[in-house]
């Protein structure tokens, strides 16, 4: 035992204070469980410090400035300038307020907070190394443990985040000036959100993506709306190309080289290259073997519907437990794991996970697509309402996109929905409730929706599926 080592015990140990871990810790403490939360870095994890929150803050600022600068049609004359330092400072203030809030909420609910890096030391014990050398460590015994160590950006060959011009999403959100030219590797949601931010700031953005459209995983007609708008904003797309390597250019910038599957190379001049090709679990630094916890070949920790790993007393939640890697899924898992630890009959029994992409326009999806419904054995009926027929959309000046709802023809049950357009991230909440409640098309259609709102489009999409929409023609 090293000097300064102390040993304590706790009923529940939570490792990692991201949206998976801190929510688990608070809920467990609310249920009367003696709970300790270990975090090595900052409260709120990736989400609050380097992910969801900073990206959305930048999206707000750049969108507001861009909109105001392009609203002559509406009678607004303005020439807004975004000062990167000011934007960053504001964003930092937002982050500080939220991370401070998380710490306060943990304390107010009676969670014991420990700062340091945890590693397993057996199936019922971790060792927590306190930050910095010579800061000592402590040993904590637990009855139950929830692993919520999250994920980190994947590095690709020849693009090391240690090199200055190679940026992770985290680096991109911490830049102190606007790059003139940026290559973005990967057109997933993080790549697309940040491409939009920088395009609106005036950066020349070139996106390279191995697959053949932006936002792989989303339906073609949904992704197309966002890609087209990005193109309007000046973003250049190159599909079917993977990033190969980069070198210094002659103009003080860099040259990023890509390769197609067939080996064809292309080169793009840039000042920085943002790599956003996915995230890998933080499970390799935990000595999981010491506890006997198994991972899959990618390093994710498999869990059951109570978020339990192969070791009975150890749970895993959030990104480290695998797809979908979303903050709200991590929080849901955290709540379930905490309640199971508290002896309640909780389980992950949700019908559908909503997800949003905060591009211009936004995407919001929940539950099944038409294809998925068919594969699941339903006879899907689909209803759609374009925003260009929505009074509210017209009055906001945002008229691209649509609401689509997917239902089972026989019973009318709403199975899912895909929204692309203004406030899609918010609008999807109603459809998520519909799916969870087992609501039918008629239930949503019969619910009075405020005029004029974008949410009326959800009602109209349901009416359309029933063959009786008012504001769009029925098929």
């Amino acid at each position: 035992m090293v000097v300064g080592d102390i040993s304590t015990g706790t009923e529940l140990l939570v490792i990692g204070a991201g949206p998976g871990g801190y929510v688990a810790a608070i809920r467990a403490a609310q249920k009367g469980v003696d709970t300790t939360l270990v975090e090595r870095d900052a409260y709120g994890g990736t989400c609050l410090n380097h992910g969801c929150i900073p990206s959305k803050a930048y999206i707000t600022v750049t969108d507001l400035a861009h909109r105001a600068g392009h609203a002559e049609e509406m009678g607004i004359h303005a020439d807004p300038v975004v000062d990167m330092a000011g934007m960053r400072e504001w964003k930092d203030g937002v982050v500080d307020q939220l991370t401070g809030g998380v710490e306060k909420l943990c304390k107010a609910n009676g969670v014991n907070l420990v700062e340091g890096t945890a590693r397993f030391d057996g199936p019922n014990r971790v060792r927590v190394a306190h930050g910095g050398e010579g800061q000592g460590s402590e040993s904590i015994e637990f009855e139950h443990c929830i692993v919520a160590t999250g994920s980190r950006p994947i590095e690709i060959p020849n693009f090391s985040y240690d090199d200055l011009p190679v940026l992770s999403s985290r680096d991109a959100l911490a830049l102190d000036s606007v790059p003139e030219r940026m290559v973005v590797v990967g057109a997933g949601y993080i790549g697309m959100e940040l491409s939009t931010v920088f395009a609106k700031l005036g950066t020349d953005v070139t996106v390279v993506e191995m697959l053949d459209d932006a936002l792989p995983g989303y339906e073609d007609d949904v992704a197309r709306v966002v890609r087209k708008r990005a193109e309007e904003l000046g973003v250049e797309f190159h599909f079917g190309e993977g990033a190969a390597d980069w070198r210094d250019g002659n103009d003080g910038g860099i040259v990023v080289a890509t390769e197609t599957e067939g080996g064809e190379r292309s080169e793009y001049d840039a000042d920085v290259v943002l790599v956003a090709v996915g995230r890998a679990p933080v499970s390799d630094t935990l000595d999981l073997d010491a506890a006997g916890v198994e991972t899959d070949e990618k390093g994710f920790i498999p869990t059951d519907d109570q978020c339990r790993t192969n070791v009975d007393s150890i749970f895993a939640v959030g990104d480290v437990a695998g797809e979908p890697m979303l903050a709200h899924v991590g929080s849901k898992e955290g709540i379930v794991a905490a309640e199971v630890v508290a002896g309640e009959p909780a389980a992950l029994d949700y019908q559908a996970v909503p997800a949003a992409v905060f591009t211009d326009p936004e995407i919001g999806t929940v539950g099944m697509t038409e294809d998925e419904a068919e594969e699941a054995g339903f006879t899907p009926v689909v209803g759609q309402m374009p925003f260009n027929a929505s009074g509210r959309a017209l009055t906001t000046g945002h008229t691209t996109g649509f609401v689509r709802v997917v239902a089972d023809e026989e019973t009318g049950f709403v199975l899912g929905g895909q929204i692309v357009g203004p406030e899609a991230s918010e609008l999807v909440a109603e459809l998520a409730l519909a799916v969870e409640m087992g609501a039918t098309l008629e239930d949503v259609a019969a619910t009075i929706h405020t005029h004029p709102t974008l949410a009326e489009a959800t009602m109209e999409a349901c009416e359309n599926a029933l063959g009786q929409a008012i504001h769009t023609l029925n098929r």
Binding site: M437, A439, E442, A446
Partner: protein, 60 residues
């Protein structure tokens, strides 16, 4: 009995179930809901309608 029903004669049933009740001539105030909190489901309404039909058949 009346005391079991929500105050203000409010019944808790989704819109589609309310419409079904009208179609089948079922008074929702007489239906015992089997859902959470006593929420009335489609099945509850159909059962009540069938029960009423059987009862009237019995009378004949």
């Amino acid at each position: 009995d009346a005391e079991e029903h929500a105050p203000d004669a409010r019944v808790f049933a989704p819109p589609s179930v309310r419409r079904l009740a009208r179609e089948l001539g079922v008074d929702l105030a007489t239906v015992d809901g089997s859902g959470p909190g006593g929420r009335i489901t489609e099945g509850d309404v159909r059962a009540t309608a069938e029960g009423a039909a059987e009862a009237s058949e019995d009378e004949e």
